[in-house]
Each structure stands twice: as structure tokens, then as C-alpha cells.
């Protein structure tokens, strides 16, 4: 790209505008490793004290249990979303489905629906199915809320695969299923990958659904765990500890995003190779 104007005024403006955020994040990290004298922002002491929740369950309760649950929650959701989206997206993109248009517009509407408005209906369904207050129930609800987005995205990726590749596969003697698995699926792996990461991040950060649909369950995910830690009325309330748990909770997401950021961007390009 050739520049017709110098770029530094823009960088300067953006820098100034985002400085407060950057400073906050910087202090989020610094504060978890240091102590500062009261009334001061400048730390005077390096410490791992705020991270003691990792090995000392007496501080805020066991953190590894909720971590494992959150991981299970997010990965199960990824599996469900990928399995359904990769097949449903294909069907909607390629197969001569009855009610195809109806499905498509249905997916669009569901995609646009704020999930909060469905919560009462979902609650009733879970109650009826006996899944209220269970991890499986929350996972199923979360995954199905993610599905319209997933199916839609995967349909976009399948639409990009040339029709001839499929026909060539059929001519080469392969069944439709073999064609899908060996020829078409490899073409949409970028889509699957980004959708999977997206679903994982979404599941990892979910707070509302576990909170509402499993309020008294015997499991905790990290978001609800963090909610307990951050309760200013609790006896164990400690702001630096809260920051440390928060950072611990964010880390996997940051890592995932740093590693796969290019992949994640191409989900919005509808599958064009970026």
C-alpha cells in the first residue's frame, strides 16, 4: 500500500485514545505480582502472594475444580457445535433439502435473537427434561444457542467449495459421504478451526447461563467462581487476589487469540482464504 499522507498523527491519536485501556491492563498484570503501599499506585514489593489461590484452596476455595469444569464445558460445547454445524451447514449448502429456505431464514432469525429473551422458555424446557441445575443442561443450551451462528458460518464455507469438486468425487466412484469426509471437509477446515476456537472462547467466558440455569448445582465454572471471589461483602475479599484470579481466567483466551488471530479474522470473510 502506498501512503498519501504520513501515518504518525493517526497512530498518535489512536495511542492517546487507547492509553487508559493499556494502562489499566498493565496495572492488572503488575498488581497481581506486587504490593503497593496504601494510597500509592507505584508498587514497592514483588510477591507471589496473590497467586497463592493456585495451590492454597483455603484462600478462595479450590480453583482447579472450576477450571476443569470450565474446560469440560467449553470443549464439549466445541464438539457439539462442530459436529452439528459441519453436517448441517453441508446439508443446507448442498443437499436438496425440503424446507431449505425456511431453515435458512429460521437460522437467520435465531442468530439475531438475543438469548436472554429465550431464558424463560429454556428454563421450562430444562425443568421439564430434568436437566435444570445440571452441567449437561447448561452445555446443551449454550451449544444450541451457538448453533445458528455455527451453521450459518459453515454454510458460507461450504458455499465456497466448487460444485465440480463434489461431482468429480462422485464420478471417481465415491459415495456422497466419502466425498464429504475426504474431499469437502478438508476444504472447510479453516472454517471449522475458527468456529471451534470461537465456540471455545464463547464457552469459556460464559457466565449468564450457568448462573441462571444451574444456580445451586454442585459444580462451578470459572466465571461463577470469579463472581464469588469478587463479592466485596465476602470475608475473603481482596482486590489484588480478584485481579489474579481474573488474569488466570483470561490467560487461555489470550493465548488462543494470540496463536489463532489470523484464523479468527477469516471467519468474517465468509471463508475466503486469508
Amino acid at each position: 500500500m502506498t501512503r498519501n499522507f504520513s501515518a504518525w498523527p493517526i497512530y498518535a491519536l489512536l495511542g492517546i485514545l487507547s492509553a487508559p485501556l493499556a494502562v489499566m491492563y498493565l496495572f492488572l498484570v503488575i498488581d497481581t505480582f506486587t504490593n503497593a503501599p496504601p494510597g500509592s499506585l507505584i508498587p514497592n514489593e514483588f510477591t507471589f502472594h496473590h497467586w497463592r489461590f493456585l495451590w492454597d484452596a483455603s484462600v478462595t476455595g479450590d480453583v482447579w475444580g472450576p477450571t476443569a469444569t470450565t474446560f469440560l464445558f467449553a470443549t464439549t460445547m466445541v464438539v457439539i457445535v462442530l459436529a452439528v454445524s459441519s453436517t448441517a451447514g453441508y446439508a443446507i449448502s448442498r443437499l436438496n433439502l425440503p424446507f431449505r429456505r425456511f431453515f435458512l431464514s429460521g437460522i437467520m432469525v435465531m442468530h439475531a435473537f438475543p438469548s436472554v429473551t429465550l431464558i424463560i422458555g429454556v428454563f421450562l424446557v430444562l425443568q421439564f427434561a430434568g436437566l435444570y441445575n445440571t452441567l449437561i443442561g447448561v452445555i446443551l443450551v449454550k451449544a444450541s444457542l451457538m448453533l445458528p451462528f455455527g451453521v450459518w458460518i459453515m454454510k458460507g464455507f461450504y458455499d465456497q467449495v466448487p460444485w465440480e469438486i463434489e461431482m468429480a468425487g462422485v464420478q471417481d466412484g465415491a459415495s456422497r459421504f466419502t466425498v464429504w469426509r475426504r474431499l469437502i471437509l478438508p476444504q472447510v477446515t479453516p472454517g471449522l478451526l475458527s468456529l471451534g476456537i470461537f465456540a471455545f472462547i464463547d464457552g469459556w467466558s460464559e457466565f449468564m447461563l450457568p448462573r441462571i440455569l444451574a444456580p445451586s448445582a454442585n459444580f462451578q465454572v470459572l466465571s461463577t467462581y470469579l463472581n464469588v471471589v469478587s463479592d466485596p461483602n465476602s470475608t475473603t475479599y481482596n482486590f489484588n487476589l480478584f485481579k489474579s484470579v481474573g488474569l488466570f481466567y483470561t490467560l487461555p483466551i489470550l493465548v488462543l487469540f494470540a496463536v489463532f488471530q489470523n484464523r479468527l479474522m477469516n471467519i468474517f470473510g465468509g471463508g475466503t482464504k486469508g
Binding site: P162, I165, M167, A168, G169, Q171
Partner: protein, 352 residues
């Protein structure tokens, strides 16, 4: 293997695209389905390979009725216009795909892939991926993949359309060579008359879902059954003059002077409406009668030069001759017209 279409009918929704078409492709023959876009030639091809279900009639491979056999079991090799190589597989995996789907053992697959790669001259490309190949190489891989499981019929859908002019020339003879070496029955779909004429044993020319004429390229060029066929074959194209017979073996152009008719039409009654087709090579080279006019357009093509000659009455004839520079735009010339080779068509467009 002989391929026969009997009363083949294809409709899309309520539109009948092809109505009761009959066609026989002989064993080992290469036949071109030639026609303008939308004439139903690709539809016919896709019906033969089973992508389109037929709505009536029969498709026979040899004596086996395959009308209701799914694509996978028809044993047809297809080369698609955009080659449809599998981008995530290497060239050798691409070629091996039909065999591995069939469940052949590894050693046999390896052997067959080698053999077909040798035939199509792509041995050194086997480890590459389709994206690393040029258009011509992709074409060869597509051919190899279509041929590797020794299909009964090879179908080529506009195989040269995506190549540049020079490669097109090369692949034209390559495809023909491979077809002859394997002795496979092949059907080529194309809208390019040069491709059809240069590659195929016979041409079936189609328009609006109908086969107008099936003949060898030379016969079809020399004796087209109607005006459409005459106009479709030949580049630069034939010049059609509308007029009527004079009754004494000549042809009167509408609102103008006369031209000689071939002697076989000497007895045609006067005032019969006719169209006279003059191919550019039949004017300016040899012939009994002289036609004079003014050169109004010159197009040098290197080996040949194309002239437009406007006659006194405004009729424009086209002439192609070995390159010459002794005449130029605006010159008056009197060139011979080979009246015996002119084509004449009646009012309905049929040859007379």
C-alpha cells in the same frame, strides 16, 4: 465402448431442454458435441455421466442400460472445465483417489498412477499440489485422474476453455494423442468449432436441444445441412447473401446484381427465395467467374490476409488469401469466385 442415447429427454422444472434425442457414439470414437452456449450440450454430457437424472429415454453403454445407474457405478471419467482437482491432495493422491475409493491395494495404486502419469507426461509433478501447477499441467492431471480407473467412456467438458491460446493448441493434440493411445470412447463438449474439428472423429452439432447434423468435420464443413451449421463452422465465418434464383442458373441478391449459382442448381425455377453462402476461401483463389469490387477492409493475419470486398451493388464478400501486399484498401479488384463450391439454402434454411 459404444454409447447410445435413445429418445433421451431432459426437462428442468417445466422446461424441456432436450426432447427425444438420439445419438450413437461408436467404440473408440471421439465425438464432439458442438453448439452455442445453452444448446443443451453440457446437459447431455451430465446426463451421460449421471449427474443429471434423465426424464425419458435410455442411455446405453454397450448393451448395458445405465439410465438409472448412479454416477458412482457408471465407470465414466469426466474432465471438468475447471479441472476440479482436489486442492488438499498432491497430484499423485489426486490421481490415486478413484482407485483408493475402489479399495485397490497400495502397490497396485502406485503402479497404475505411475503408468497413467507416464502416459500424460506428468511423472515429475506427482509430489506437487494443484495450486503449484500451470493450467496445462492441471489439465493433464485431470485427464490422468479421469483415465486411471480405465473408464468405459471419457467425457470432456470444455477442457480447453480455461487455457491460453498457445497451451490450447498443445493440449488439443495431447488430448487427442492420449485418446488414440488408450483407444477410449470420448465425448467432447465445446462451443469452439476449431477444437471440435481438429480433435474429433465426428461432430454432432446442436442447437436448442436438437442435434442438427452428425458428420465428420470435413463433411460437415463441406456440406452443412442448414444455414446454422454453415454459419457455425468456419473462421472467418461464411457470408450469407439473401436473394432469389433468377431462373437461368444465377442468383439475384436482394436489391442488387447477380452471382453465379453452382451448376447442380442450374434448373432451379426463377423467383425461388434462396440464401447463398460464400466461404472466404472460395472467393479470390480460383474459379470460373469473375467478381469485381472495391476492397473496403484489410486484416493481415500473418500467413494469410483477410479482405472485405464491396461489390458495385453494396454486397460485401469476404476473401482469405495467402498473405499479399500488392492490393490495399480502396483498390478495385476483379477476383475469381468458385461458384461450384458455394452453398445454397432454401427459405427454411435447409441446404439445397
Amino acid at each position: 465402448m459404444q454409447v447410445t442415447l435413445k429418445d433421451f429427454t431432459k426437462t428442468f422444472d417445466d422446461m424441456t431442454v432436450i426432447d427425444k434425442m438420439n445419438l450413437t457414439v461408436e467404440d473408440g470414437e471421439m465425438l464432439a458435441l458442438l453448439g452455442p452456449s445453452g444448446c443443451g450440450k453440457s446437459t447431455t454430457l451430465f446426463a451421460i455421466c449421471g449427474i443429471h437424472r434423465i426424464n425419458g429415454g435410455q442411455i446405453l453403454f454397450g448393451t448395458r442400460d445405465v439410465s438409472n445407474v448412479p454416477s458412482q457405478k457408471r465407470n465414466v471419467g469426466v474432465v471438468f472445465q475447471n479441472y476440479a482437482l482436489y486442492p488438499h491432495l498432491t497430484v499423485s493422491e489426486n490421481i490415486a483417489f478413484p482407485l483408493s475409493v475402489r479399495g485397490d491395494d497400495k502397490a497396485k495404486i502406485e503402479r497404475e498412477v505411475r503408468a497413467i502419469a507416464e502416459l500424460t507426461h506428468i511423472e515429475e509433478l506427482l509430489a506437487r499440489r494443484p495450486a503449484q501447477l500451470s493450467g496445462g499441467q492441471q489439465q493433464r492431471v485431470a485427464l490422468a485422474r479421469a483415465l486411471v480407473r480405465k473408464p468405459d467412456v471419457l467425457l470432456l467438458d470444455e477442457p480447453l476453455a480455461n487455457l491460453d491460446a498457445k497451451l490450447r493448441l498443445e493440449m488439443r493434440s495431447e488430448i487427442r494423442r492420449i485418446q488414440l493411445e488408450t483407444g477410449i470412447t470420448a465425448i467432447l463438449v465445446t462451443h469452439d468449432q476449431v477444437e471440435a474439428m481438429s480433435m474429433c472423429d465426428r461432430i454432432a452439432i446442436m442447437n436448442k436441444g436438437e442435434i442438427l447434423q452428425i458428420a465428420t468435420p470435413t463433411d460437415m464443413y463441406r456440406a452443412p445441412v442448414n444455414k446454422f451449421v454453415a454459419g457455425f463452422l468456419g473462421n472467418p465465418p461464411i457470408v450469407m447473401l439473401e436473394g432469389k434464383a433468377s431462373g437461368d442458373g444465377r442468383f439475384i441478391v436482394n436489391g442488387g446484381a447477380g452471382l453465379p449459382l453452382p451448376s447442380r442448381l442450374a434448373n432451379i425455377p426463377g423467383d425461388t427465395p434462396l440464401s447463398l453462402g460464400v466461404r472466404p476461401e472460395h472467393f479470390g483463389a480460383a474459379g470460373a467467374s469473375q467478381v469485381s469490387g472495391t476492397i473496403t477492409f484489410v486484416e493481415p493475419q500473418g500467413r494469410e490476409t483477410l479482405f472485405d470486398v464491396t461489390l458495385a451493388d453494396g454486397v460485401v464478400l469476404r476473401s482469405i488469401q495467402p498473405a499479399r501486399e500488392d492490393v490495399a484498401l480502396g483498390h478495385k479488384v476483379a477476383w475469381p469466385l468458385d461458384a461450384e463450391k458455394l452453398l445454397a439454402f432454401d427459405a427454411t434454411g435447409q441446404a439445397v
